[in-house]
């Protein structure tokens, strides 16, 4: 039934007639509509203008009413008709349909608005969802507000993250502060080979004290947790490797995997590194440790005094649940008071007290929190530019719709009706933009988590934040409605006839709107510039990180772990023999250049901070001032060569006779800070109970992604294998495909011992990028946000300039007729562009300057007000401003003078 579309004002007129004729739900409506359409089609076909046809048609409302009186069915209904002040659902629907029709006639406008909204809403929904999950959501434990992490504080400030067993034993008795206090062994990541199943598998193990699960307030899914006796007593500790009780609590996942979720798992035994443990409990699905890695198995830690559990051994982490009703502040005061009394009776505490930190804060960490807030701020700024842009588009559309609105007003649409029409139009845009934004947000969250899993801790599942989406959408729709209404409201102040007659858009309201649009663009440029400046800083910071010399060469290096079960490798000799054999086999592979092993890889943080003694005058260790802290690394094979760490002087690890005497290699920092002018090579130091000769000086290697270094000493595994069962990480430098190499090594390992697992193979490059993950995440996201804002502001600037040129084509035509050169015309447009971009740039610079204080802490080797970044950004904006003015300027110079002047 539908025929070719008519001009919108005629469609509008027909709608008014039909509405007044009150023919809804009758055949008559279609009949009348077709006839009216035919009327106008005939008129247009005869060359009569739409406006003439409309004028000749007369009052559409009156026509409709007369038609109503003549139609039999409608007449009766119509006789009692009175004007309603509300709109029926049907009428609303009509308005929406009409709005949709108007929008499909302006597809470019609609698309730009919807895409802009979608980008703003999508970016915000994604980043705020992550923010909500990481920073705002409670930890998944009972009453998480009462949970604290305990560090050791003491007057001499020697304590830190790690705690001493005797103190934990004392502190857990402080009932007036703590309900429960649990300790966990996070000093290093623990694993064990689980050999109960068909093939050996490596599982994550965590030693915990009794009270650990209770402090977190999570009951086991099946069975029980650890009893007091399984951890605290009676008797004395025998040694670290000897478990106090052979019981285990296992994760839900492991339970499902090896026991298929069966209830009779309780009481069964599992084999870990050749030792049997009875399964006494299963934790609920999704239970995670508050820090450290996830665990498959928890074993009870021997907390009895004796053995290595003494006052001079810091190695445990603590979590506690504060007593109900005790605030953090009260708890902090009380523990100081109790600690003082405690110190009086136990001088070896060194006055230590439990330093209480909210667990949530500990889990998230201050830098990560700050980074996420900054990213959220950036996303908010993207939303702001999006809103500014949409507003701008709406104002521009409002200008071009003045005539349309005037016409509708002349056709009898009341002010309310006009407002409703625009409301419907903007509502449609908002719904479409919101839906697209939601889709983009869902995708964005997935992308963020995939991009940086390590940045998003403690999150079992991130769900779309309903509140976040609602908030973002509300802001956008609010802006849309607020600014979208202005054309309709302005219309109500203007006489329709005046607008219709004037023919051009040079009214005073037009000029005011243009000022509004200019202001919006200036703001937009400002916001975008601040974002781009931020992104430039983050990018520079990240590139300094990536280019930072860390003291090693990760290219072509494969790392993996092999853990030797105590049962089959009971002593140092056996373990050393294994490593020699493994290294020989790997070295024989054709692609391999170097092979070695180390107790702790570079950039993974500080570890094993011990002390060494050096005083040639008093070699007996009597000089208390001659003790120096150093991080100790146990190394095997030619680790230094495999990792690409430079030997500065002396002999390499692979070139010495390890049977000759106890040896040590030290790094440059030790030389600089301890030996100074003295010759370090050949000196003897006391380390880990042995007097060792310094065989070589090694270059510094960073222990974090920011290139921090510390004193470091390297001890050969051959001379130290008996100290403990070192979990060495193998390092292999090779050519070619490392994945293929991994398989070859797996085969070789199987030939030595078929029960051993090649654990966590990865490249040194992957290790580096994982420690740089947070910085990369921040830089990448900032760049994305800045790019978005940049594009949006470019679109905004271009839109305003193009609109202005179109609106002033008459003026430009006159100027050119009066002899203005194309250069002058181009200059006019460019000057206008400058009036937008220059204040915007100044605004943005001011913003960047103010924001610098915020992001300083996250930047590496780049000043937050880095002149290079800022000036590059300004330059970029000036160039982009010029570029966006180029097309409109060119169009201005091609205005056809004759055509423009004879147009009206």
């Amino acid at each position: 039934m539908t025929s070719a579309p008519l001009p919108p004002e005629i469609e509008e007129l027909i709608d008014v007639v039909l509405r007044a004729a009150d023919l809804e739900f009758t055949d008559g409506r279609r009949e009348v509509e077709q006839e009216l359409r035919a009327h106008f089609e005939d008129g247009l076909a005869k060359g009569v203008s739409a406006e003439t046809l409309i004028v000749r048609f007369g009052d559409p409302v009156e026509a409709g009413r007369r038609i109503a009186r003549t139609r039999p069915g409608a007449a009766a209904r119509n006789r009692g008709e009175r004007r309603r002040w509300w709109m029926s659902g049907r009428e609303w629907w009509d308005e929406v349909r009409r709005a949709a029709r108007r929008l499909t006639r302006a597809p470019g406008f609609a698309a730009v608005v919807i895409v802009t909204l979608a980008l703003g809403i999508g970016a915000n929904t994604a980043i705020f969802t992550v923010l909500d999950a990481v920073l705002l959501k409670d930890l998944p434990y009972a009453e998480p507000d009462r949970l604290v992490r305990i560090h050791e504080g003491n007057p001499e400030d020697v304590g830190g993250e790690y705690l001493r067993v005797p103190l934990i034993v004392a502190w857990r008795g402080w009932d007036e502060v703590f309900d429960e206090l649990g300790a966990l062994y996070t000093y290093r990541e623990m694993g064990a080979d689980l050999t109960s199943g068909d093939r050996p598998e490596r599982v994550h193990v965590l030693w915990v004290s009794a009270g650990y699960f209770e402090a977190l307030g999570i009951a086991p899914h099946r069975g029980r947790t650890f009893t007091e006796d399984e951890s605290y007593g009676p008797g004395e500790a025998t040694g670290r490797t000897e478990p106090i009780a052979h019981t285990a609590v296992i994760s839900h996942a492991l339970w499902a995997r090896i026991f298929e979720g069966s209830d009779d798992a309780l009481g069964r035994t599992i084999e870990l590194d050749g030792e049997s443990y009875e399964v006494v409990g299963v934790m609920p699905r999704g239970f995670k440790n508050p820090f450290g890695t996830d665990s498959d198995v928890w074993l009870p830690y021997d907390m009895r005094l004796g053995g290595s559990n003494h006052y001079r051994n810091w190695f445990l982490s603590g979590v506690a649940r504060l007593r109900d009703g005790v605030t953090l502040e009260q708890a902090r005061e009380r523990v100081r008071a109790i600690a003082e009394a405690h110190h009086d009776s136990e001088p070896e505490t060194f006055g230590a007290y439990p330093r209480l930190l909210p667990l949530h804060q500990e889990v998230v960490g201050p830098t990560r929190a700050r980074m996420l807030w900054i990213l959220a701020g950036a996303a908010g700024m993207v939303l702001l530019t999006a809103c500014l842009n949409v507003t701008n588009l709406l104002v521009a559309r409002g200008l071009s719709r003045d005539r349309d609105l005037a016409l509708r007003s002349a056709l009898g649409s009341g002010r309310a009706r006009l407002v409703v029409g625009i409301l419907a139009e903007n509502g449609l845009l908002a719904v479409a933009g919101g839906a697209a934004g939601l889709a983009l947000g869902v995708f964005g969250v997935k992308a963020l988590v995939a991009l940086a899993p390590g940045v998003v801790p403690m999150v079992t599942e991130i769900r779309m934040g309903g509140a976040v989406f609602g908030f973002t959408t509300a802001v956008t729709i609010g802006a849309l409605l607020l600014f979208g209404m202005t054309p309709a409201l302005r219309m109500s102040r203007t006489a329709p006839a005046e607008v219709l007659r004037s023919g051009d858009r040079t009214s005073t309201t037009g000029r005011a709107s243009r000022r509004v649009r200019d202001g919006l663009v200036i703001a937009q440029v400002g916001v975008a510039l601040a974002l781009v400046a931020g992104a430039a800083l983050f990018t520079r910071s990240f590139s300094s990180l990536v280019n930072l010399p860390l003291g090693l060469d990760p290219e072509g290096v494969l790392t993996f772990e092999v853990h030797l079960p105590e049962a089959r490798y009971p002593d140092g000799a056996a373990r050393h023999a294994f490593h020699e054999q493994l290294h020989d086999r790997i070295a024989a592979l054709p692609a391999v250049d170097e092979v070695g092993a180390v107790s702790w890889l570079p950039v993974k943080g500080r570890y094993h901070s011990w002390g060494f003694y050096w005083d040639p005058e008093n070699p007996d260790g009597s000089n208390d001032d001659a003790w120096y802290g150093t991080d100790v690394r146990v190394v095997a094979g030619d680790y230094l060569a495999a990792m690409g760490i430079d030997l500065l002087s002396g002999v390499g690890l692979g070139e010495v006779d390890l049977d000759a005497e106890p040896m040590v290699w030290i790094n440059r920092t030790v030389v600089d800070e301890v030996f100074g002018e003295d010759e370090a090579l050949g000196q003897q130091i006391v380390l880990a109970g042995d007097t060792r000769r310094v065989m070589g000086i090694v270059d510094d290697v960073a222990h974090d992604s920011r290139g921090s270094t510390t004193r470091k000493s390297y001890v050969p595994h051959a001379q130290f294998a008996g100290d403990r069962n070192w979990a060495l990480t193998q390092t292999v430098r090779a050519r070619g495909d490392l994945g293929q190499l991994t398989e070859q090594i797996r085969t070789e390992l199987g030939r030595i011992d078929g029960q051993l697992v090649l654990f966590e193979p990865r490249t040194a490059d992957a290790l580096l990028s994982s420690v740089r993950e947070q910085d990369r995440f921040a830089a990448l996201l900032m760049a994305c946000f800045a790019g978005l804002a940049l594009v949006l502001s470019l679109v905004g600037t271009y839109g305003v300039l193009a609109g202005s040129v179109a609106a002033r084509s008459r003026e430009i035509g006159i100027r050119m007729a009066l002899g203005a050169s194309t250069q002058e015309i181009r200059g006019m447009v460019l000057r206008y562009a400058a009036r937008l971009v220059v204040p915007g740039t100044i605004l943005g610079l001011a913003g960047a300057w103010v924001g610098a204080g915020w992001i300083r802490a996250l930047l590496f080797e780049v000043d937050a007000r880095d002149p290079l970044s800022l000036s590059a950004t300004v330059l970029l904006f000036l160039v982009i401003g010029l570029a966006s003015a180029w097309l409109p300027a060119r169009r201005a110079t091609r205005v056809d003078t004759v055509e423009v002047l004879t147009a009206e």
Binding site: S3, Q34, A38, H39, D42, G43, A45, G58, D59
Partner: protein, 114 residues
């Protein structure tokens, strides 16, 4: 010159029916014919033509049939019915009587209207 509303109300149905008595027409044709044949005097607001047609149709004075116009588009053609012609006849004599009365009163001049 324009006619007052009341005159128009009386004259318009007669004019429309007279035109449709000669030949069938569709809406826009009729609008054009009215304007042309009445010297513009009966170029009423077109919005009133359609209600008028519907009114005549409802009274049974005209009937409509939809078919393709010479342009190929579908149009609703109106023509006078037998009842319509009869009514028109009665109206004509009434008009003649009225005009005669007016003329004798000197309101309407005989045959030399400017």
């Amino acid at each position: 010159m324009t006619l007052e509303r009341e005159w128009m109300r009386g004259a318009a149905p007669l004019a429309v029916l007279t035109l449709l008595e000669r030949r069938e027409m569709y809406g826009y044709e009729l609008v054009e014919a009215l304007e042309r044949d009445s010297g513009g005097l009966l170029a009423m607001g077109q919005s009133t033509v359609y209600p008028l047609l519907y009114n005549l149709e409802a009274k049974g004075h005209v009937e409509a049939v939809t078919r393709a116009a010479p342009s190929g588009r579908k149009r609703k053609y109106y023509r006078a019915t037998a009842a319509g012609r009869k009514w028109l006849e009665a109206q004509r004599s009434q008009w003649a009587t009225l005009v005669a009365a007016m003329t004798s009163l000197g309101i309407a001049a005989d045959g030399d209207e400017a």
